[in-house]
């Protein structure tokens, strides 16, 4: 098919080939520190990972970061989309304002939050101090227990708008006679929400869950700019681990093995969401 040829050529070259190549590399011990010796090691890169505490730590932090942020994104986006589905004065302005975080580059977002969390002059310290919640300035990103949450907060702020738009699209597709019928049947506001609104939002939720989970488990920029995996290893997530392993330790083989595992996990999760929440894409 002539029309399809360009797309297939492009995707073959820029997506399929790299992935196949990534699998290939993952079977070799490829270290740029000794570029001429790249022995085939079979599954060793993978089996090494199984016993690697740093790897499992990174996996665990990725899972908690994703759980926290995706849950928050879905809940906030649900509330905001319900709000935007109402008719009120200023609705259009609000929905335009909502686009701002979505359009902001991730790096600019990271920069902005780094400035907000700044330990000497940041807005978070300033605000909490003025409101008397804290009596001295805190080193927010230096706190092992809070770091992951603070990064998640920056991530959620950036992601809520798109999730909201996706959910709003589902909400708008609900025919109004469904609500009329439910009213005639004497359904309360809550019953209408549970039995009419929520089921209709399923496709929207499916998209949000797939998209945001994928974004969360592969997210890199905020970790790079805000904490570089620190303090200690508090924000050492999988994407950061792959970056360090590949481009700082120059260990391409095991980096590729991890990337490949991450790709498989992402794919499996998306499949799971599609099976549980939707019929088809």
């Amino acid at each position: 098919m002539l029309f399809l040829a360009p797309v297939m050529a492009v995707l073959g070259a820029v997506a399929v080939f790299p992935i196949a190549y990534s699998l290939y590399i993952s079977f070799f011990s490829m270290k740029l520190t000794r570029p001429n010796r790249t022995p085939f090691v079979g599954l060793k890169n993978y089996t090494d990972l199984l016993g690697d505490e740093a790897f499992w730590g990174a996996v665990w932090r990725t899972v908690s970061f994703s759980l926290v942020s995706v849950t928050a994104i879905a809940l906030i986006a649900l509330l905001v989309s319900l709000l935007l589905n109402q008719e009120f004065r200023g609705r259009r302005i609000l929905s335009t304002i909502l686009l701002v975080p979505w359009a902001i580059p991730y790096v600019a977002n990271a920069l902005m939050w780094k400035w907000i969390y700044d330990s000497s002059y940041g807005a978070l310290n300033g605000l909490l101090y003025q409101l008397d919640f804290i009596d001295k300035y805190m080193v927010w990103l230096g706190d092992q227990d809070k770091t992951l949450f603070l990064i998640a907060n920056a991530f959620v702020w950036k992601e809520v708008p798109l999730a909201t738009i996706l959910l709003l699209v589902s909400l708008k597709s609900i025919p109004s006679d469904l609500y009329a019928a439910a009213r005639v049947d004497g359904a309360t506001v809550w019953q209408r929400f549970v039995h009419v609104t929520l089921p209709a939002m399923k496709p929207g939720f499916m998209l949000v869950m797939i998209y945001e989970t994928m974004m969360a488990i592969r997210h890199f920029d905020l970790f790079f700019i805000l904490t570089e995996g620190g303090p200690g290893s508090a924000s050492h997530v999988l994407s950061w681990h792959i970056y360090v392993e590949t481009f700082r330790n120059l260990s391409f083989g095991s980096g590729a093995a991890m990337s490949y595992l991450l790709a498989i996990a992402t794919f499996a999760l998306s499949y799971l969401f599609i099976r549980t929440l939707g019929r088809k894409i």
Binding site: V7, V14, I97, V169, R218, I225, S239, I242, F267
Partner: protein, 321 residues
């Protein structure tokens, strides 16, 4: 509400009054939540903007000045005049202690070129996306052929792969092609990220247009290609705009791949330069914030201008099925 009796009840409850109060309460709740949402979204950005207009002495005040007391444009001035003369620092201008962070990085002069790089890459990616994406989406939506479903799944699967998994193979390939530190390397790799999405959105939209259009065009003697150009493209403007917008923003904002493949100002994009500022501990905060504002302005303007197409473009793409 409609389950209330229509005839006025005999007892003393005034239903009409109750309904009115209910409506006012509802209004108030909606209004209050709208304010909360707007504040949540705008507060961080406003602070970034506010600090971009503060002087270096004001920006380090404790507690922070939420609104600049002596607003200044000198941070932006520093960016736009950087590279004209000697490396400019606020230090040379105001005579304060450079250790206090009153410093403009020497790479500041790369800021405007990096914006140009971002713009070039994003524009090329948008054009290439339309060139390969539109015919493919048309074919999948309107032509029955063997392997049609398989093509859809193939395209979807390529988007599930995390960018980080593409980094290593891309790096090796691009190094081998001698394309490291060129804009071309970014254009190629961004296609991998954007094309599946483009095709996906357009398929949904084309499928929504009636098949009869296609048939009528063919009866009138159009080739498949002419039918696509003359009949379908004009009708699919909203989804095309949505695609352009998404692709542009993705390319403008991308960071990870650009971080790997660019090294000098010849190919560095805006996000990379911005990130390089943040790792410099002596950098001026107010300068950094001004740079941040510059990075935010173009994509936000683009998004707001095309705002109404986003939902219609997504409606085409999202609610089917």
């Amino acid at each position: 509400m409609s389950d209330m009796p229509i005839t006025p009840p005999v007892d003393t409850i005034d239903y009409r009054r109750r309904q009115k109060i209910g409506r006012i309460v509802q209004r108030l709740v909606i209004f209050a939540s709208a304010i909360v949402v707007a504040a949540y979204v705008l507060a961080p950005v406003s602070w970034l903007v506010s600090s971009a207009f503060q002087t270096e002495t004001e920006i380090v005040s404790i507690p922070p000045h939420w609104i600049p007391e002596e607003p200044t444009l000198r941070n932006f001035e520093a960016i736009f005049t950087a590279g004209n003369d000697e490396p400019v620092t606020y230090d040379t201008r105001s005579g304060t202690d450079p250790a206090a962070g009153d410093f403009i990085p020497s790479t500041a002069e790369n800021l405007l070129p990096s914006m140009a790089n971002s713009l070039i890459v994003a524009t090329l990616v948008v054009i290439l996306n339309l060139l390969v994406g539109v015919p493919a989406a048309y074919a999948i939506a309107k032509i029955r052929f063997w392997g049609r479903n398989a093509s859809v799944y193939f395209i979807l699967i390529t988007r599930v792969i995390p960018d980080i998994a593409l980094v290593v193979p891309f790096f090796l390939v691009i190094r081998k092609l001698g394309m490291l530190d060129t804009l071309g390397s970014l254009v190629i790799t961004y296609l991998a990220i954007t094309v599946p999405f483009t095709v996906f959105i357009l398929i949904q939209y084309f499928e929504g247009l009636p098949d009869e259009l296609d048939k009528a065009a063919r009866v009138d003697g159009c080739s498949r290609f002419q039918a696509l150009i003359k009949v379908f493209l004009p009708l699919s403007m909203p989804s095309l705009v949505a695609v352009v917008l998404f692709t542009f923003l993705t390319s403008w904002n991308e960071f990870l791949l650009a971080l790997m493949f660019t090294q000098t100002s010849a190919s560095q994009t805006l996000p990379i330069l911005l990130a390089s500022f943040t790792s410099d501990f002596t950098v001026s905060f107010s300068f950094l914030n001004a740079a941040g504002v510059l990075a935010v302005v173009p994509p936000v303007i683009v998004a707001i201008v095309f705002e109404r197409y986003i939902v219609s473009g997504l409606t085409a793409g999202a609610v089917k099925g």
